[in-house]
């Protein structure tokens, strides 16, 4: 048993889980081209969920704050990006890749900017008065989510909004029998870039070191001379911006969005941070990839089980590792 466990750890340990999941799915699906398409879709979906989940995981880890309003940033990010893309319709539909890229870059920047500003205001007005009080956190952030959804309905109306994809991301990459949507590759690349940037910040900078230490023991960080509450504002604002970027990318993925886009994603986001382990970026990535892959594989193999699959995945992982796959050390 020990030798099996050592072998598992030597080859990457729990980091291998998404790979194992993909191998099992390959055996069940049978068709390589279908498997590649589903795998790329799952990875892209996972990366977008990672963007939405990573900030929430750090926020909970650092300050024990349960923010159910996090998905409001996802919703606003999606709608703001959709509005920017609609306003730049000429660039979105142009044959120039440069103009296409500029349009999507501006849409993502607008969503991120909203996340930064609204995240700061949200933390100051909604979160700060309820530090260390989980019940009030849940109530007030749920209330804020409802208000945010109503605001979206008031601004953008109740009808679903179509989200145009930039021209260069509308096609598919065909390799043999395999067809891969370009937007999915783009979403995967953007999520990967965000993960690498976050990893570098957390592991190569003093601020990152403080965040990692604060997630473990915020009292001790303060006893070493640092204001954890000020650090928390920064993390909260960054997490809100990432959620808004995730929402912007998800809007392009879905191509038709409603005011409920955020609250629909919230369940998946919570599953991801529970699976991954609270306060851990690596855990959020692992959880997001597994949820993305599982969702796509099961939707193909047993469509009726699609909704339940992630819940079952969470239950199995919690039975195996009650604190998630890679929780921050507490």
């Amino acid at each position: 048993m020990d030798s099996t466990s050592n072998l598992f750890e030597r080859f990457g340990g729990i980091n291998l889980l998404p790979v194992l999941l993909a191998i099992v799915a390959f055996a069940l699906i049978g068709s390589p081209s279908t498997w590649v398409t589903l795998t790329v879709a799952g990875l892209a979906m996972g990366m977008m969920i990672f963007l939405m989940a990573s900030g929430l995981s750090l926020v909970f880890g650092l300050m024990d704050v349960l923010n159910f309003g996090h998905s409001a940033f996802v919703s606003f990010g999606a709608f703001i990006a959709a509005s920017v893309l609609a306003a730049l319709a000429a660039w979105v539909g142009a044959d120039s890749i440069f103009l296409n890229l500029l349009a999507i870059f501006l849409a993502i920047c607008a969503a991120a900017l909203f996340g930064l500003v609204a995240g700061w205001a949200f933390e100051r007005v909604i979160i700060k008065p309820v530090y260390r009080d989980h019940l009030r956190q849940i109530l007030i952030t749920m209330g804020a989510l409802i208000v945010a959804e109503q605001l979206i309905l008031a601004i953008w109306g109740g009808s679903p909004i179509s989200v145009p994809r930039p021209n260069f991301l509308t096609g598919s990459l065909i390799i043999g029998d395999v067809s891969i949507e370009l937007y999915r590759l783009f979403a995967f690349a953007l999520g990967l870039a965000a993960y690498i940037a976050l990893y570098m910040i957390l592991n190569r900078t003093r601020v990152g070191l403080l965040v990692r230490a604060g997630v473990e023991n915020r009292e001790m960080v303060e006893a070493l001379g640092f204001r954890i509450d000020r650090l928390f504002i920064g993390v909260f604002v960054l997490g809100s911006a990432l959620a808004a970027i995730g929402g912007a990318m998800w809007a392009g993925y879905e191509t038709l969005i409603t005011a409920a886009i955020g609250s629909e994603m919230m369940i998946i986001v919570f599953i991801v941070i529970i699976i991954g382990g609270l306060g851990s970026i690596e855990g959020s990535l692992l959880g997001a990839l597994m949820v993305g892959l599982m969702g796509n594989y099961v939707a193909f193999l047993a469509p009726k089980m699609a909704l339940a699959s992630n819940m079952i995945l969470m239950m199995v992982i919690l039975l195996w590792r009650p604190y998630g796959l890679r929780p921050a050390v507490k």
Binding site: R206, R212, A213, E216, E219, M220, E222, A223, V329
Partner: protein, 240 residues
Amino acid sequence: MTAPILELDGISTDIAQYHILHGVSLSVPEGGVHVLLGRNGAGKTTTLRTIMGLWKAREGAIRFRGDDIAHLHTSEISRKGIAFVPENMGIFGGLTVEENMRLATNDGSFDRERLGRIYTLFPALEKFWTKSAWSLSGGQKQMLAIARAIIERRDLILIDEPTKGLAPAIILNMVDAFREIARETTILLVEQNFLFAKSLGQTVAVIDDGRIAHTGNMADLVEDTVLQTKLLSLSLDAHQ
């Protein structure tokens, strides 16, 4: 007797609905090791945490070099030159030994000479420098917690029961290390282990039920076995 570096004047601290400290007054002279003794639940840890601002005093004053620090934020108290080694050591297990130490530096860089002295005091830290702190043994974690408190020059170090759960051989090493550290700074040591405390302490205060029951020189307490029996069995007498 040198001028006090730290004075507690009538400190009362509550935790939720419980009154833990009842007007604690204590004076810590500058330099050397000073010991706060007491049984479990007597209020030793609460006293240290109140000094650090981790729990706020309901009333009373805490003066550090004459300035009242009772209302300051913990981080501001730390930046005044007070280091804290909590009972649970406060090690960041997910960080490496180096990262734990780097966090305690003023600007993220090490004074090589100072680091060299720490390696001499605690050779295990050099050996495990790049390892995760959670992989250290209990004694090594305690060494790291103390090393972190002295990686920069501090005026006062508050240490909460450093010998708890440690093997006798490690405690002996700890005595030597504390003597070395006390050459340049003041240590306020909370202990239950009287043998360890008496080998280091210059002054001693005994706390019981949130009140200071005795203050004086450690040498006097060591000499006076009747007083020792009275003070150190205080808790048993009071609770039987």
